[in-house]
């Protein structure tokens, strides 16, 4: 258990964060962009839990931050999907390039 250094866990979460960033940059479909955001939020959660476990084992604050981030991610996903469904009704597409009315 303790032979894995903290840096390896941090590297996993960093790589996951940048995978999510790559998806956010290349995808133009709103649902897949939402999935990338979920990956990014999860990588942050891994960081919080790992720091809590390795550096401050007598406290619980990292755990609380992880719980609150999960809650907010759930709320965000629900609102985002409501917006996507509404957009699909008015534009018959959920591609971000097709929804440029409010751009300028």
């Amino acid at each position: 258990m303790n032979e894995i250094p903290l840096t390896h866990i941090l590297f996993v979460s960093t790589a996951l964060f940048f995978i999510g960033m790559f998806g956010l940059f290349t995808r133009r479909n709103m649902i897949t962009m939402l999935m990338s955001i979920e990956l990014i939020l999860n990588s942050v959660n891994i960081n919080f839990v790992a720091f809590n476990k390795y550096l401050f084992p007598e406290k619980l604050d990292g755990i609380f931050f992880a719980i609150f981030i999960i809650t907010i991610a759930a709320a965000e996903a629900a609102v985002a999907i409501a917006i996507i469904i509404n957009l699909y009704r008015s534009h018959h597409s959920i591609d971000v390039e097709d929804a440029g009315e409010m751009k300028f």
Binding site: M1, N2, E3, P5, L6, T7, I9, L10, F11, V12, T14, A15, L16, F18, I19, G20, M21, F22, G23, F25, T26, I31, T32, M35, S36, E38, L39, N42, N45, I46, V49, A50, N52, K53, Y54, L55, P57, L60, D61, I63, F64, I67, F68, I70, T71, I72, A73, A74, A75, A77, A78, V79, I81, A82, I83, I84, I85, N86, R89, I94
Partner: protein
């Protein structure tokens, strides 16, 4: 290498591999399924770190809630069998360069940093402690964020219903 170390590297490779597939595959339904596997891998990582409570919350909220919601919205808005348009070549190259640069920079910082108190103190997570501290009104209590988040959830629920509700044509006239 012990079994725990090998297990960690297997879980890490699983998370990253399924994550890459989730953002690169061109069929949107497969993308959702790869995301599901990636989230399960993260829950396994939490189990490996012996934070069972967070792992259980992860499985319930993400795997049981958010991914199901995403799959529902895919069925409502997409032809799930068809392939998505290919991203532009130039955009892919530029974002790959940006992402690789960020990854190199951050991992250099991580591997150069000395995390001083690599303590070997045991970490045991007690669900009763979480509950006590979550609702405690004293210092280091989390009652205020707890209440704020509960209001946020209520607002998100009402907001989602209001946004996604279908307005009838007669009502639309009165609204305008």
């Amino acid at each position: 290498m012990s079994t725990a170390a090998i297990l960690f590297y297997i879980i890490a490779a699983f998370i990253l591999g399924t994550g890459i597939l989730a953002v690169t595959t061109r069929k949107i339904f497969r993308s959702a399924i790869w995301l599901l596997f990636s989230l399960i891998g993260i829950a396994a990582l939490y189990f490996w770190m012996e934070v069972e409570f967070i792992a259980a919350v992860q499985i319930i909220v993400y795997v049981g809630g958010i991914v199901v919601l995403i799959i529902f919205s895919i069925f409502l808005t997409q032809k799930s069998g068809s392939e998505m348009a290919k991203p532009l070549q130039g955009r892919t190259m530029i974002s790959l360069l940006a992402v690789l640069f960020g990854l190199t920079l951050t991992s250099t910082l991580i591997f150069q940093n000395e995390f001083n108190s690599m303590s070997l103190r045991p970490f045991q997570l007690n669900v009763a402690d979480i509950g006590t501290q979550m609702l405690s009104t004293t210092e280091h209590g989390y009652i205020l964020p707890f209440e704020v988040v509960s209001i946020l959830l209520l607002a998100a629920m009402i907001g989602a219903i209001v946004i996604a509700i279908k307005v009838k044509a007669a009502d639309e006239k009165t609204l305008n």
